[in-house]
């Protein structure tokens, strides 16, 4: 089915969802790691609009934006396991929650991680509010789409690893079993899927990175987020 390359960083959760999708579909691919402080000319050529990763390159043609990439993978390697359900309403629902994760849940979590003091408390309220919607959506289901995992599990999969590692790094707890029983159960089950279990970035390296983000290097991102936050 042609040559596949994935431009990614080692730590990004958005890259991971593409890795999972490719592995679950049994697609062979080559990984090219990008250093975002020193972007390759290839990346700038393949994603001139955003200059971001992940970028999937299929037969020399780039596809950008992780949710767009996920749907592309699902539609291109369309025999065997399908990520999105067939029913149009179920598909619309999955897309809605995916957008909610990318535009609300994840950014609010990132803000919570990067802020301090009173700002952090406010940010925590927001991320908890967002997660409560997700918790409700999971009610009575083993995975987001039902008995079998799919698109939305790949999208929310970052929850299985990142909040826990951040807690280890800077003692910032988020997901409480009492407040989020559905999410915690789902995290265990989805976290047990071999492809998911075997692809997390190195924990020590992540902890080190999160420390650095909170200290000196993080101030730029913190300031930028504070200015942009609504």
């Amino acid at each position: 089915m042609g040559e596949v390359k994935l431009f990614r960083t080692w730590s990004s959760p958005f890259a991971l969802r593409v890795v999972w999708a490719l592995k679950l579909k049994g697609v062979e691919y080559e990984t090219i790691y990008e250093d975002l402080a020193n972007k390759s000319s290839s990346l700038l050529e393949y994603n001139p609009v955003h200059k971001k990763v992940p970028v999937l390159l299929h037969n020399g043609i780039p596809i950008c934006e992780s949710l767009v990439i996920l749907e592309y993978i699902d539609e291109t390697w369309n025999e065997g396991v399908r990520f999105l359900p067939k029913d149009p309403l179920a598909r619309a629902t999955a897309r809605f929650w995916a957008k909610f994760n990318d535009e609300q849940v994840f950014p609010s979590f990132f803000r919570y991680f990067m802020r301090q003091g009173e700002d952090q408390e406010k940010a925590k309220e927001k991320v908890l509010e967002n997660l409560k919607f997700v918790e409700e959506h999971l009610k009575g289901k083993k995975f987001f789409d039902g008995e079998v995992f799919g698109f939305l599990d790949l999208v929310f999969g970052w929850l299985v690893c990142y909040p826990g590692v951040i807690n280890k790094a800077i003692n910032l707890k988020l997901l409480d079993e009492q407040m989020f029983p559905n999410l915690c159960t789902w995290m265990e089950q989805f976290g047990d899927v071999p492809v998911i279990k075997e692809t997390w970035p190195d924990e020590e390296a992540l902890i080190h990175k999160f420390h650095k983000m909170r200290e000196g290097l993080g101030i730029y991102i913190y300031t930028k987020l504070r200015y942009e936050a609504s």
């Binding site: 609009v49 955003h50 299929h58 043609i61 596809i63 950008c64 934006e65 767009v68 990439i69 749907e71 592309y72 539609e75 291109t76 149009p88 309403l89 598909r91 619309a92 629902t93 897309r95 809605f96 957008k99 909610f100 919607f133």
Partner: protein, 231 residues
């Protein structure tokens, strides 16, 4: 007794995201009941249909759970009535390309208009004008790529990106007038200038586009509830 429409659309006439859904409903000849929402005083129906965002548009199809987010609604309509005026192409790569540009338009380009509104001072506004102009050049290039020499992004007739970008035309003209500059310009983006005229007069579009008075009222509401930043 008139048959009640199976499809209801909750919207507000000034919202380009609502207009976009209306374009697609018209293109696909789907009958619908339109429910106008007052965003300054949101109805029970809206709050229960879209509890997460409390925003329009919301599409309700028969007794099924509501569908929110305009791009998601458009894909849903395309999937339930694929044989009438197909909106998205069927090839996965073309679909990915279309979706990428829809993301760009919604998340990078159009928010600049609001950014312009809330940014105080000439210097600030000029910086945003520059970004809008840069964006317009990207969109002109995208138009060349997608249209392949034809008259719409979708080729011979209106397609996904025509609908995705086309809904912003009224607000584009409003922003241009308010800020004395051109978003789309005969020298910089000649094809898009022609495209705007074509879309503006398209059968499925022309009766949906809000008039200036509607935009002015909405603008005044924004100025009141989300005032510009202090200098």
């Amino acid at each position: 007794m008139a048959k009640k429409s199976e499809i209801k659309l909750i919207g507000t006439v000034a919202s380009p995201f609502v207009n976009r859904v209306q374009f697609v409903l018209n293109l696909k000849s789907i009958e619908y009941e339109y429910i106008e929402e007052n965003l300054a005083c949101k109805s029970e129906l809206l709050l229960t249909s879209n509890p997460v965002h409390k925003k329009v548009p919301v599409l309700i199809h028969a007794n099924k759970p509501p569908i929110c987010e305009s791009l998601i609604i458009i894909e849903y309509l395309d999937e339930i009535k694929p044989d009438v005026h197909r909106i998205l192409p069927s090839d996965p790569l073309e679909r990915a390309d279309n979706r990428f540009w829809a993301n760009y338009i919604d998340n990078k380009f159009f928010p600049l208009y609001e950014e312009m509104r809330v940014t105080p001072g000439k210097e600030g506004k000029d910086a945003i004008k520059k970004r809008i102009i840069e964006g317009s050049v990207l969109l002109e290039e995208a138009f060349i790529k997608f249209s392949r020499g034809k008259t719409y992004f979708g080729g011979d007739d209106v397609g996904y990106l025509d609908v995705v970008l086309g809904c912003f035309i009224a607000w584009t003209k409003f922003t241009e007038k308010n800020n004395e500059f051109k978003v789309f310009d005969e020298v910089r983006t000649p094809r898009l200038v022609e495209w705007v005229k074509r879309i503006w007069s398209h059968e499925a579009v022309k009766d949906v586009i809000p008039g200036n008075e509607v935009l002015v009222n909405f603008y005044m509401m924004l100025q009141k509830y989300r005032p510009p930043r202090a200098v």
